[in-house]
Symmetry: D2
Subunit: 379 residues, 4 copies
């Protein structure tokens, strides 16, 4: 059982992810984790905080000579902008944040809630996911996220191989797959920022190389589609999740939705075992299990909740109308969100792989993976 | 900690939900549960199975003289159409179902997977949710689900009080909130059925009377939005979940998304403690916690996967192309799905209420609820 | 992940265990489960209830043609002595039971607590464990429990093979391994019963055929010794648990406690991989993991709490001193407890096997088991 | 839901405990945590490592101005003796440790297992427990552990108030409650050390001030006796756990075991609500729930597994007989173990308090606690 939790406040000393149940024998590339952390800090439309922080992961436990031991792995990203002890409470709750509701729930300050509710926490969720990707790489499973919409403007992905698409994405300041769309969208972000307003967008994550049988149909709380939906919806500011054709599937007849099953002998030795599908509207998941096709999952991110042109709020003491507080913030963080969701998905897929294939050690897991493919081909 | 799991196959002897951690002191109305079971079997576009089954719940454990004891509650719905032992394996996997993927995962039969993957299981998920609603009723929390789209056709809800809307829904064969739309949509279902095709749709569930502070922002796996998303996405055939404004929030600037905070002294004694919001685009959830506003959640259901005009498939033994198997099925089950999602949401809200307010016994929970409202008003 | 929960009251309609995560492909022998249920009802010193009940398991879900499907398995044992709805509350709490504390916790009746707290519930825990043994059998793992003390009187086990010991145990009315001791102990039970008193005792369970590596050292809540201790201590009336040499290990120097490690090439193909130990004071568990030796675990059961010669109690309404209530009960149930603990241990071992080896299907698990032995031998 | 996990290796960079679900509003006294850490390092019979380490806790997250926020709390104890990267594998597995079994399970090195299996990890389990005690203090619940046996030599506790006993314990180099016994036992430890041997012992922990109703009888995995047994047995080197009279209860008739129930009006306002018991053989737990009496739990610790006079072992490569490796170690660590078990018990009690009383915030929990006492008195 692979699992993780995080700790840490936005302006506190540090952020920590404790990863438990990670298999032994995986060589950890901390530079590759740092690349993801840096990507999370980037994207067009970010504010001042990202210039202060230059996140680096410190693997505090669980490795020896750069290789995992099977013991818990603590990943730490220290906050350079540590100043929590000097900060005061925030007087005026900001709509869209947990300010008001947290102050009520905990009968305490707004500061005490916002510091933890902040998306700053996602730095270590990204670190955990980036670690998980290094396990997935041994099974040739890749997880790839990108932006498909910003503030209602579509970035239609250019078709191509994963490498080609990755190259495009990594050139794009928006982390989209169509560089032609970037200038117009950057202009939109600029205009929105000048208006004191903010933008959200839509993210797509694709997981390639997934074998049959991750997740299960047998119990509601172990279905992989449900697990993915939980993990993604629990990312700050996400308000919608869909798999494969998603909401559009609700609008078409079944004959245009369900993916026919074909057999292609030449693909027998790939994870799909030769069972090909001319379409992938299911997004790789049928009955809560992977079906040998790529997983495709999309998330809708609402606009940043902190507006330079503040929204209406209330003074919690006097109950008088006031403008909401303003804390330094971004205009648009959809690019960062694509990195977060990508890595959050990666972690859940790694959990499902561990659930299916083991695993105390990577060598045992790989042996089992081959054995499973063989048994399934011969079924 | 309130939790539940289910057991049972589609054509097996029975279906069981085991509910653990339900508070003592709740009077159980089994007729009210049966009403939900009957609603789940109804709706326009259903097939022959629903004429065989007339589901009734049997509360097998956990109550004495009709009142819960705080011990586990086993809810049973017996299958009248029990015939599993006489059934053969299904030879040709049906696209959209777990047939192919389950046969690979478990290295076994298709029958062995489809029987459990079937939405027949939702009968006891509905029973568990209907039980949960009886706990919620003590806190004047209501959970109300209805259909807003069928096969791309919108059923725009008529505004009204909950009672008025419930009256409309219960007159509608589609479980929508606009009777004027029903004839056109029934005709669409009829046409689709004649074509051997199927339809899906969109469901909305609204939870009224929710206090502040259900769920938490503090850890990703305890955020209520994530929990709701998991529960709903884990319902058979659901491919998308959104909260409040959902995907549309990704398309608008923040100033048109985030709900201003007002204060209305006259509402001080309601669950929102006087903190009113002129809009509810957040759908009642900010930072993974309830904010005193109604929870609004939508789900996209794909069309029924079993088509009378079968899709392309493969014979698993010969690998030759064949038509998919056909098992008796419905043309459209979106109305039933609205009942299922309503009750699944109800259970998760009850979990969150138990998490926040207790609870060994209902009397203690109610005392705590009042105490919390008082402390929060005085914060 | 294999797991289970139970539901049901002592005089309610029924008892149910819901087993989730049990692998597909195991042929279920219900007669073998019934043998365990009958053994649980037997033993010298039992009272009238056991003459009313003749427990039989009904496998309600999760199998097809007698073979598990990988879906949840609901095991039911119906109460012949169903009369809960006719029973009144119990006025005077019985020391040793949950009567007083449950009435306070739930602010309710004593009846409502005692019905669930009763050891009647263990019938389905035994059923779940007996099912688990059928999975373990495929790995040639056996779980064997017997009584070693009754009311302070020792039943020194006769050495022998498992079959020989099983034969002795099954002849003994006390479920001990030394028939010579039975007459004296039966006389003690008779005398105690005449005095209106009750007896407890000590149970030992041995698990043979266990491979290396069940459980883990890596996180406190996944150590197998801790899991076993929880499961056993959570059996009604158990007040102590020890592994291997147990408390005696605290009294000896390390040189007389720790088991030397030898290597015997001829044992290379057994689960211990050739690593033999001249003693087994560790009881098969080092650092929370199995070490290839038999697991040995002992439990101390307190005497039955309901005494014919009642203990001092208090009327909860008047607070006046009274004698505790008397409900039909046994003089000594240590033999039954040995069956319960044996089966509870079996379930936990099966969980650990599933955690280590899989498992969606038994065939895949067996392949992995062989692969692991091979890899470990070649390490 | 209060929960925690740890990370860290014995000679790694650091040790971390991540505590999730700790209520807001608790003022954290880090000096008090450091006192426990220092006590854990002390006791007669310790070796060289304890002179290198001078453990101090660093509360890395979850507090603001010294008060908990309700967000996860990361507790860190840095290893001064960090040298893992310079250390080699251990060639010869030590009996009693996880060396052999871990090397097999993970198909890897001994070093990679022993570093995590080491009791060094308990430093942060103590820190987590010491934090939990600060929550319990608000409810006037105290947790107090001491040594009652060393190597078979009994330290009979002197009766007295908690303060008196604490004063004795804190003067004792053995952490016992009878200073007269210390010289003889220290001499025993000295002799044993000269022989190259080691000693274990027995610990008792008492929890005073516990209200009715922590834990539950309703489901096996939520019974408090089972949870305590798991937590304690999962401490390194513990081989036995007993509650109240424990194993001795198995040897006496029921009339001498079960604690009569009396009522003493003058105690009505204490946590026992006036329900007094002339004895406490149940150790405060009946049917998996607290009964208003002190919890009493004992643990048996085996002798240290690393002997200066090494035990027989095997070279894992050649399979030749060799002496086990020797790593710097203690002769006797029973005093440290008493600190560890005390704090591990404290954490579980805090979990049960949070389960029963809340809790988002301490102020709300305290209000609920008073409300429960009032309702229970009036039941």
């Amino acid at each position: 059982m692979l699992r993780y939790w995080t700790a840490g406040e936005s302006h506190g000393k540090t952020l920590i992810a404790l990863v438990d149940g990670f298999p032994a024998g995986v060589t950890v590339d901390t530079d590759a984790i740092d690349v993801e952390l840096k990507r999370r800090q980037g994207g067009y439309g970010r504010g001042g905080r990202q210039r202060i922080e230059t996140d680096k992961v410190d693997v505090r436990t669980g490795i020896w000579h750069g290789v995992t031991l099977g013991s818990p792995i603590a990943l730490e990203v220290v906050n350079r902008d540590y100043k929590l002890e000097r900060l005061d409470d925030l007087p005026r709750p900001r709509p869209g944040h947990g300010d008001l509701t947290g102050a009520m729930k905990f009968l305490g300050s707004i500061r005490g809630v916002l510091e933890r509710a902040s998306a700053r926490e996602t730095a270590v969720r990204v670190a955990a996911g980036a670690l998980a990707k290094q396990l997935l790489a041994a099974f040739e499973i890749t997880v790839f996220g990108y932006v498909t919409e910003v503030g209602g403007e579509r970035i239609e992905p250019i078709e191509g191989t994963l490498d080609e698409q990755r190259s495009i994405r990594d050139q794009s300041e928006l982390y989209g797959l169509n560089l032609d769309r970037d200038p117009a969208i950057k202009a939109l972000i600029d205009r929105t920022g000048k208006d004191g307003d903010t933008l959200g967008g839509i993210i797509e994550v694709r997981v390639d190389g997934v074998p049959f049988g991750l997740g299960t149909h047998a119990q509601w709380d172990r279905k992989l589609d449900g697990r993915l939906a939980q993990a993604v919806m629990a990312v700050q500011a996400i308000k919608g999740v869909e798999i494969g054709m998603g909401f559009e599937a609700a609008r078409r007849p079944g004959s245009q939705v369900h993916d026919p099953i074909h057999y292609d002998e030449s693909k027998k030795d790939t994870p799909n075992l030769g069972y090909t599908r001319p379409s992938n509207n299911a997004g790789g998941l049928e009955a809560g299990m992977t079906n040998g096709q790529p997983i495709v999952i999309r998330a809708a991110k609402k606009p940043i909740s902190t507006l330079a042109k503040p929204l209406e709020s209330v003074n919690l003491d006097t109950k008088e109308p006031v403008e909401a507080s303003y804390e330094r913030s971004d205009v648009c963080a959809i690019s960062a969100a694509s990195v977060i969701v990508e890595n959050v998905v990666a972690f859940e897929i790694a959990c499902a792989v561990v659930d299916k294939f083991g695993g105390d050690s990577l060598s045992e897991m790989l042996g089992r993976y081959e054995m499973f493919l063989k048994m399934a081909r011969e079924r």
